[in-house]
């Protein structure tokens, strides 16, 4: 029990922080209701998947700067192919887009493994490649996502339990829980923790890294899909998901450098960061100031994470 507390201390802290923020929200806006939370969850949905993808890339000891661009590719592909299509076709398109996400991530990972160029450089280059691909598919916002998919993320099954929240949790869990329980999950943590020891334990380092980036690509595709589902159209220019995903992953307890953390913390962190933004808006802070505050929090969180990573490496 004590160990559970110790290992989950970070996650419990985040839960506490989330509750504190909820109280703050109620104080600022006494009329805050379930519908406010529903729109918050909908806005947070693409961030949740981007963060999950980023977290997996960081866990294996890397980072993926092309997350937002891969989301853009997924979003325009879905919007273009679904325009005027029936339900059956649009289901097929969903799976096609998820497959494209896996492939993009695997390409990122393979390039890193084969060229031996640092992750940050390869994925920075791929950020532009995937952005270019997105613009080739659709050079201005357009297309249309199947209406039933747009409806899927709206509303709530129960008050305070919006569909978007359920989709985020189920989507991440369906991919991550089986992996986390398999040899691959262990291998991802092992490679991120100590590649030499992992190699000597018989882990396939190259394969594990490619797989981790492929999972990151898959989550990015889910992020792109849900983004298109909430706006109804495809958007070729990448949104502000890169730094937000890194910040949420780090705030969620994933240590930069790899090997430590999970996906529950980052998902909570996404809600926290979104809620902070909403509170600033509710408190009618100047939108420009909101952006400054948001940026400062992100830099602060990433910096703190960097310092913590240094500490743990040194001890």
């Amino acid at each position: 029990m004590i160990r559970v507390l110790r290992n989950q201390a970070w996650v419990l802290g985040l839960v506490g922080l989330l509750f504190a923020l909820a109280l703050v929200t109620k104080a600022i806006q006494p009329t805050y209701s379930a519908s406010g939370f529903e729109s918050l969850a909908r806005a947070a949905l693409p961030f949740a998947f981007a963060t999950a993808g980023m977290a997996v890339a960081i866990l294996v000891g890397g980072i993926d700067l092309s997350v937002a661009s891969m989301m853009a590719v997924a979003s325009v592909t879905a919007a273009v192919l679904m325009e005027g299509a029936g339900v059956g076709t649009s289901i097929g398109v969903v799976f096609l887009v998820l497959g494209i996400g896996l492939a993009m991530g695997a390409i990122n990972g393979a390039l890193i493994v084969v060229t031996k160029v640092p992750d940050i450089v390869v994925t920075l280059a791929m950020l532009y490649v995937w952005e270019g691909v997105a613009l080739l598919i659709l050079n201005a916002p357009g297309g249309q996502v199947a209406p039933w998919l747009q409806q899927l993320i709206r509303g709530s099954v129960l008050p305070w339990v919006p569909n978007a929240l359920i989709l985020a949790v189920v989507g991440v869990a369906i991919v991550w829980v089986p992996i986390r329980r398999s040899k691959l999950g262990l291998a991802i943590y092992a490679v991120g923790s100590d590649p030499l020891a992992a190699y000597r334990s018989g882990v396939n380092i190259a394969g594990t890294r490619i797989a981790a980036y492929a999972i990151c690509g898959l989550f990015s595709a889910m992020g792109g899909l849900t983004l298109a589902m909430s706006t109804g159209i495809g958007e070729p220019i990448p949104g502000p998901y890169l730094l937000a995903a890194v910040a949420a992953a780090v705030l969620g307890g994933v240590v930069l450098g790899g090997g430590i953390g999970g996906l529950v913390g980052p998902l909570l962190a996404v809600l926290i960061l979104r809620l902070v933004r909403q509170d600033l808006t509710l408190a009618s802070v100047d939108p420009n100031v909101t952006t400054i505050v948001e940026g400062t929090i992100m830099v602060g969180v990433v910096m703190l994470g960097g310092i913590l990573a240094l500490r743990s490496r040194r001890s």
């Binding site: 262990l186 092992a190 991120g192 100590d194 020891a197 000597r200 334990s201 018989g202 882990v203 090997g259």
Partner: protein
């Protein structure tokens, strides 16, 4: 007819670029046998081990396991073939729990727990994160994990180096028992006492090829030392520099009872201005920790250090530098700015003093730098980037730059590793010149010959303690080697 060996390697060769690490290595191990793999530093031992465990691919030669040719293309393949290694450093993933580590390597839990108990660990919590366990426990867990995999060939690479004595006993007993029950063991260690206790045979490597295979019996140590040295080395004459040449007076450095971590236990010595004091040790005998303390990379756990009579305790490399101690790492990449010119690299120690702001005194320093470049005989390329120089010339820069700066105490850690003979011959006079200018030089070397060619005296460290102090004139390879292996000498000049 002898039974078929479990492992039979022959003609194994490996090159790294222009360097031949292994030319003709061989090893045969039968079931039920413990074979010691021995060789001096640089004989190719670790390369051979890496090939046998799949961490490196061989260029030539055959490895047969149970009589069938095997490529052993990766550590996982080696494991599948039944070769299970235990290394000097822990192999468990620090951020995973013990249970997850077992799952990662497909280790069955019950046999693992059986072996941990057998090896003297009574209570083990499998849910504990590996990184939180003490080092000695981790070593034992590595061995238990290897045994639980039911290996055909168990390879123990210096695994007792970080273990307390009682655990070493336990490990030796368990391994011997396992061998008697039919597994083959390859044992790599610098410790003759352990080898005598455990091993049946010793296979000796020298300069990349296997020079012999001897049964372990009383008095065999001499033969092994002889085989490791070869015959060629005994011919090189010691340089005539006796004790009377050593400067008298107060020592620059006075170390007493220095200890750190598990490797460095008790090292004392005096180092005088104008003297070059050699440090001789096999790998992992505490010399790394000793130099780390002197360079300020880590504090000593116990013991005292005096510089010019004043007690010092370095908390940071800046403290050591302020006390006049200059560290030159064996790895040149850690000492030089590879992308900058030779000229700038020589000027760096001159200009990099803290607390001095404002413009650099260009002219005076330019002269010093020019003088140093001339001395180093690499003047034509002085404008070029350091990384374009050969390794030997780079090392000349790392040492020669202190000629321009002037240095009080110079700590050289294996400065000639991987350098050609001609450049080595230019480095020794550089070191001597620095000493003649009044510098006190501590010179760790992995080549015994350098004690005679570059040093005045040498301290020999074994298992973290100074076992002998030998004058350069008396430092024959045999005497140094015996001392480095912790064997008694008849001369007994300690």
């Amino acid at each position: 007819m002898t039974p078929q060996p479990v492992l039979d390697a022959s003609g194994v060769a490996k090159r790294f670029g222009a360097v031949t690490a292994l030319s003709d290595a061989a090893l045969t191990v039968h079931a039920g046998e413990v074979v010691a793999l021995m060789g001096a530093n640089g004989a190719g031992k670790s390369t051979f081990v890496k090939i046998l465990t799949g961490a490196l691919k061989r260029d030539a030669g055959t490895v047969r396991i149970d009589g069938t040719d095997s490529t052993i293309s990766s550590p996982a393949a080696a494991r599948r073939a039944g070769i299970v290694p235990v290394y000097q450093e822990p192999a468990l993933i620090p951020d995973l729990t013990v249970r997850d580590n077992l799952r990662l390597g497909d280790t069955p839990v019950d046999p693992f727990l059986h072996w941990t108990r057998e090896l003297g660990i009574e209570s083990l919590d499998l849910s504990e994160t590996a990184g939180r366990l003490p080092l000695a426990t981790l070593r034992i867990l590595d061995l238990a994990r290897a045994l639980a995999a039911e290996p055909k060939v168990l390879m123990l690479d210096e695994m007792t180096a970080a273990l307390p004595t009682n655990l070493v006993e336990r490990v030796l007993k368990t391994v011997r028992y396992q061998a008697d029950n039919g597994i083959a063991v390859i044992y790599i260690s610098h410790r003759f006492t352990e080898i005598a206790q455990l091993c049946d045979r010793a296979s000796v490597l020298r300069d990349g090829h296997t020079v012999g295979d001897v049964p372990i019996e009383p008095g065999v140590e001499d033969r092994i030392v002889e085989m490791m040295l070869g015959t060629a080395l005994t011919s090189s004459e010691p340089a005539p520099r006796g004790a009377e040449a050593r400067p008298a007076g107060k020592p620059r450095l006075r170390a007493r009872g220095l200890a750190a971590g598990t490797a460095l236990e008790d090292v004392s010595f005096d180092l005088h201005p104008g003297e070059v004091l050699g440090v001789v040790a096999l790998e992992g005998q505490g010399q790394d920790e000793l130099f780390d303390i002197l360079a300020g990379f880590r504090p000593a756990d116990r013991g005292t250090l005096e510089v010019d009579g004043a007690p010092r305790r370095f908390r940071h490399p800046a403290d050591a530098i302020a006390a006049g101690l200059t560290y030159v790492p064996g790895d040149r990449a850690h000492a030089l700015l590879a992308g900058r010119s030779v000229r700038e690299n020589i000027a760096l120690p001159l200009t990099a003093r803290m607390g001095r702001w404002g413009p650099i005194g260009m002219r005076a320093e330019a002269e010093k730098v020019a003088a140093a470049i001339e001395r180093l005989q690499i003047d034509t390329r002085a404008q070029g980037e350091v990384q374009r120089l050969s390794g030997g010339n780079q090392q000349k820069v790392t040492i020669g730059r202190w000629l321009a700066k002037g240095v009080e105490t110079l700590l050289l850690f294996d400065p000639t590793r991987g350098i050609d003979v001609r450049t080595k011959g230019q480095i020794y006079p550089l070191v001597r010149e620095l000493a003649d200018q009044g510098a006190a030089v501590l010179f760790y070397t992995s080549e015994l010959e350098e004690v005679r060619r570059a040093c005045d005296r040498a301290v020999v460290i074994f298992k973290g303690r100074v076992v002998e102090v030998i004058e350069a004139a008396e430092a024959t390879d045999e005497r140094l080697m015996r001392a480095a292996y912790g064997l008694q000498t008849s001369e007994g000049a300690a």
